[in-house]
Amino acid sequence: MVMAMIGDKKINAGITVFPGSNCDMDVYYALKDVFGLNVSFIWHKDRLLDCKKYHFIVIPGGFSYGDYLRAGALAARSGIMESLKEYADSGGIILGICNGFQILLEAGLLGGAMLTNSSLRFECKTVYLKVLNKGTPFTCMLENGSVLKMPIAHHDGNYYAKNDDIVKLKDARGLIFQYCDINGNVTAEANPNGSIDNIAGISNGKFNVMGLMPHPERASEKLTGSIDGAKIFNSVIKYIKNI
């Protein structure tokens, strides 16, 4: 096990829990038992009294508020999000996975929106991702162009933004992951949901907030099919240790 410590202190990770979050325990297990972090849940009705308690925060997947209205729309307006915005503004590292990505979009912490998958169905499968920017806390242990294998499981993962915004996103190097085939080719066939430019993960301009549709916590052990998701968590841990 990687003992993620800073000096003699463990790294503290927080995981938000909204009503309907259902990957919260998967992320908890991965961060605590696989990576050896100090992990705690953050209840949606609470406010973060002191942002300094967390080295990073994960908004896990699920169906927050039952996906009612739009996926992520209600969670984005819940009590804890005010604190998360402050946390992000002060440089805190936030990873939004799947529904967490949708929440980040709805909260305006990332730009763009999610449409229903082009198949109009829920899609659960293994996909491949190409790394486009290793210069973030989430990818600092990866190389540009390397390919990761990870599962997806979502109904609304079809990322959309206006053309100008996509150009801006690319210019700012905020496009972090694209769906690709096993050899790293970004093709229409490799795109599981119809997202623009095969977008699977993006970050904000400061690279401290990232949204990702695939589930790295489900690819953190050999037994569940891949350890490529672990490379993302390891990057965050490495980044925090090196500050």
């Binding site: 309907g20 919260d24 942002c51 308690k53 169906f63």
Partner: protein
């Protein structure tokens, strides 16, 4: 006049005249609408198993692994290390035929509730689905909607759907089948039951408010359909998985804090069955104040309140002093929580309304419905079944065409277009996902998900502002850290935990064989489950079943039912797999008026569906069914009989399957499976597949094309004296397995076989039959097909049916 009115009420509630008379005797007067509503729900086939009870008693239900057998919300088996597994399968056929999306969704919701009612966190779902003929215009609609409904509920709950079966047959044109299975895990000391309530304890209603949906659902499910099916939509419940997810978390939290004395979910017959059964199981009575029941529709009548099957509700009993604490937990999860009564000593339920006593009803009489030993008679169609003389049928001219028709048949072809709509990887316990012959699950450390007090989280002792990320400069020596992750070296869950143990899940039925011979077909269904578990390296432990039949009032159906039970009993006893829970669904038949004005009744084939749970000591050793590597050697383990009776080949090619199926030699089967399990545990084989529908050809072709990461082929040379080519390739449920292994392991396999046969006094044959190749499926000189083409057809056949 009164007689006419009574008859109308009787018709509405599905009771027989004799049952009505009996109720009149019990309560000493003609029942009013409220009393009749309660009796008819509780005495319905669906709730009281009146036609099946006598026969279900014959099934083996005990054994060293069984902690709780049939009779509770779900069965419980010992999983070692203080853990238990809780599981059950249940049908939701009638609602799914009326409204497939909601019917299937609430079926999944209901079975998960059965499992977490017992104190277990659901960790995996399976389902078994049957639809009508592919040419039936509504089949694509039913398939698409049912699959969406299952995904809608299971995905939102965060419980992976890891396996199942989808079958198409004209016998389900007018009655589709939706059977849902859930397994959960709990601590042995953390099991909750519907019994144990004490006098003076508080009766608490939690979850969704009660509405008008699903009223008379239980009686609806205990009748056959007629042309008025579409008028039954109001009897189907509407599911809200989001509320159920909250209910799950709130219930488990209250259970963990030991605040609950007893609990039962409100499933069929809603508040009626939960209150009466809880009182009965506790040998007590209850006061229920109907004014306190949370309603979503104003002015519901007492009988509507009692019979509503609104989803996502639970009835629980707690100590009076714990009510405030329970209320706090449910409030935290934004759920209704209301004290609606208390437990009393006398075994009556006293209903109050407007602060006045409204009705008193006897617990025992309501709960103990009638039990029937219905007449049984061997069906007339059985006379048409004749032993197969294959020599009367010509050999196919082109085996390649036949082979393709078989593997592209949607009953054989990959169900990937279905299971990719289910989240099968959530929970991070799925070791073998759908796509192999059975699912293998590990068990992650079990922990409490309590929300911590913010103030007690240690400070990280650094200024957050200092870690605003920029472009990362230095990220060397990274591979070292990544390699450091060793899954077997996890600390969570405590040192005494057996870290690698897991369980194996499989669900199976074969209605065509059960139609031909319900005894033999039921034996095959159990055997097939056990085979799949053995092939993965697991040991079968226990069974849950869904027995789907037509009307038990038809003696021919009753005969099918009794024969099927006899088969289940014999096979379950042989495999040492007690039937610890399950459900019976009768009345899967529909009356229609045909063109000439005659009433026609279409009945489903007898369809017992078996779900089996097995254990595996080390999930790292789990074996999948598809080939792994070019150059690996392929062996046939076991023996071939070449009996095409009842096979898909006979049905598709010769349009005649009315022949007796293979009778399984169970003694040989037990040894064969022990052998296969041994190979997996020794790490000798890379793949193992049994021979089921479509025969040896399908087993080989699937092994070649089902590897998710690469395309493979196979080259086989195999001849058996006295078995002609079609019988060799397409005979089903042969007592044999196909395994593949690395070339260097061959001698070990032979040695293992010799030792096994001596120590088990067995005669398991091991035949080298060929090897894994690159891109062609070639069998003898009869079949040669390109793998990429077969793979494409195999994966797209079911997609082509979906809307």
């Amino acid at each position: 006049m009164t007689k006419v009115k009574d008859a109308l009420i009787l018709n509405l509630n599905g009771l027989s005249f004799e049952e009505y008379e009996k109720i009149t005797d019990i309560i000493g007067k003609k029942p009013d609408e409220f009393e009749l509503g309660i009796f008819s729900a509780m005495w319905s086939e669906h709730c009281c198993y009146k036609s099946s009870k006598l026969h279900l008693k014959n099934l083996p239900a005990g054994g060293p692994a069984v902690i709780i057998g049939p009779g509770e919300n779900a069965g419980v088996i010992d999983f070692g290390d203080g853990d238990v597994l809780v599981f059950k399968m249940e049908s939701h056929n009638h609602p799914s035929y009326i409204e497939p999306f909601q019917g299937a969704a609430t079926g999944v919701g209901g079975i998960m509730r059965d499992v977490f009612t017992m104190g277990a966190r659901p960790v995996a779902n399976l389902n078994s689905l049957r639809f009508g003929s592919l040419s039936h215009p509504k089949t694509p609609y039913y398939l698409s909607e049912v699959v969406k409904g299952i995904g809608f509920y299971g995905n939102c709950m965060g419980v992976p759907t890891v396996g199942g079966e989808v079958v198409f047959d004209p016998c389900y044109n007018d009655n589709i089948l939706v059977n849902a299975f859930t397994i959960g895990i709990a601590k042995k000391e953390g099991i909750f039951l519907s019994s144990g309530a004490g006098t003076g304890d508080t009766v608490v209603y939690v979850g969704s408010a009660t509405g008008m949906d699903g009223i008379h659902g239980a009686t609806m499910a205990s009748e056959e359909f007629d042309s008025k099916k579409n008028q039954r939509r109001s009897t189907v419940q509407v599911g809200d998985p989001f509320t159920e997810k909250l209910l799950l978390e709130a219930c488990l939290e209250a259970m963990e804090k030991k605040l609950i004395v007893s609990i039962q979910d409100m499933g069929a017959a809603g508040l009626t069955s939960s209150s009466f059964e809880m009182a009965s199981n506790s040998e007590k009575g209850m006061i229920i104040d109907l004014d306190e029941v949370p309603l979503r529709t104003p002015n519901m009548t007492p009988v509507e309140i009692m019979l509503s099957e609104s989803q996502e509700r639970m009835l629980l009993v707690c100590k009076k002093n714990d009510y405030e604490k329970i209320s706090g937990i449910f409030k935290k999860w934004d759920l209704n929580c209301r004290s609606i009564g208390k437990i009393i000593e006398e075994k009556f339920i006293k209903f109050y309304r407007g602060s006045k006593l409204y009705k008193i009803m006897p617990v025992d009489a309501v709960v103990n419905g009638p039990v029937y030993d219905r007449a049984a008679k061997e069906p007339g169609y059985r006379k048409k079944i004749k032993p197969l003389s294959i020599e009367k049928y010509g050999l196919p001219e082109d085996f390649n065409i036949i082979a393709q028709r078989l593997i592209y048949s949607p009953n054989i072809a990959s169900k990937r277009p279905v299971y990719r709509q289910y989240d099968y990887s959530i929970g991070t316990n799925t070791v073998v996902p759908p796509g192999s012959s059975c699912a293998v699950m590990r068990v992650r450390p079990y922990f409490s998900a309590e929300i911590p007090d913010m103030l007690h989280i240690p400070d990280i002792g650094m200024d957050m502002l200092s870690i605003i990320p920029g472009i990362i400069k230095n990220a060397k020596d990274k591979d070292k850290d990544i390699e450091d992750i060793d899954i077997r070296d996890k600390s969570g869950g405590g040192k005494d935990r057996h870290k690698n143990k897991g369980f194996v899940l499989n669900v199976n039925g074969n209605s065509k064989y059960c139609y031909l011979d319900p005894y033999a077909g039921s034996v095959i269904a159990v055997t097939e489950c056990a085979r799949n578990i053995a092939a993965a390296g697991g040991t079968p432990i226990a069974i849950t079943d869904c027995l789907n039949f037509a009307s038990p009032e038809d003696p021919e159906v009753m005969w099918q039912f009794k024969e099927s039970i006899r088969g289940l009993k014999d096979a379950a006893a042989k495999f040492n797999t007690p039937v610890i829970s399950g459900n019976v669904s009768f009345y899967n038949e529909t009356s229609k008026i045909d063109k000439d004005g005659k009433i026609m009744t279409s009945k489903i084939y007898p369809t017992p569906v078996i779900a089996m749970v097995g254990f595996i000591d080390d999930v790292n050793k789990a074996v999948t069914s598809y080939f792994k590597e070019e150059g690996d050697e392929v062996f046939l383990i076991g023996r071939l009989k070449g009996n095409l009776g009842g096979s898909l080949y006979m049905d598709l090619v010769h349009k005649d399957f009315m022949q007796p199926p293979l009778l399984i030699d169970l003694d040989y089967e037990i040894k064969l499976q022990e052998f296969i399990r041994g190979l997996a545990n020794e790490g000798l084989v890379k793949s193992a597949s049994d021979i089921s529908e479509g025969g040896l050809f399908v087993a080989l072709a699937e092994s070649a094309v089902a590897n998710p990461d690469k395309l493979l082929g196979v080259q086989i040379s195999l001849h058996k004296n006295g078995i002609r080519d079609d019988a060799l390739l397409f005979s089903e449920f042969e007592q044999a397995f196909i395994v593949s292994l690395a070339k260097r392991e061959k001698q070990k396999l032979i040695k293992y076989g010799k030792a096994f046969n001596i120590s088990f006094n067995a005669d398991i044959e091991i035949d080298y039959i060929g090897e894994v190749t690159k891109d062609r499926i070639k069998i003898n000189n009869t079949i040669e097909l390109k793998s990429d083409k077969i793979r494409k057809g195999y994966y797209s056949a079911v997609e082509n049916i979906l809307l």
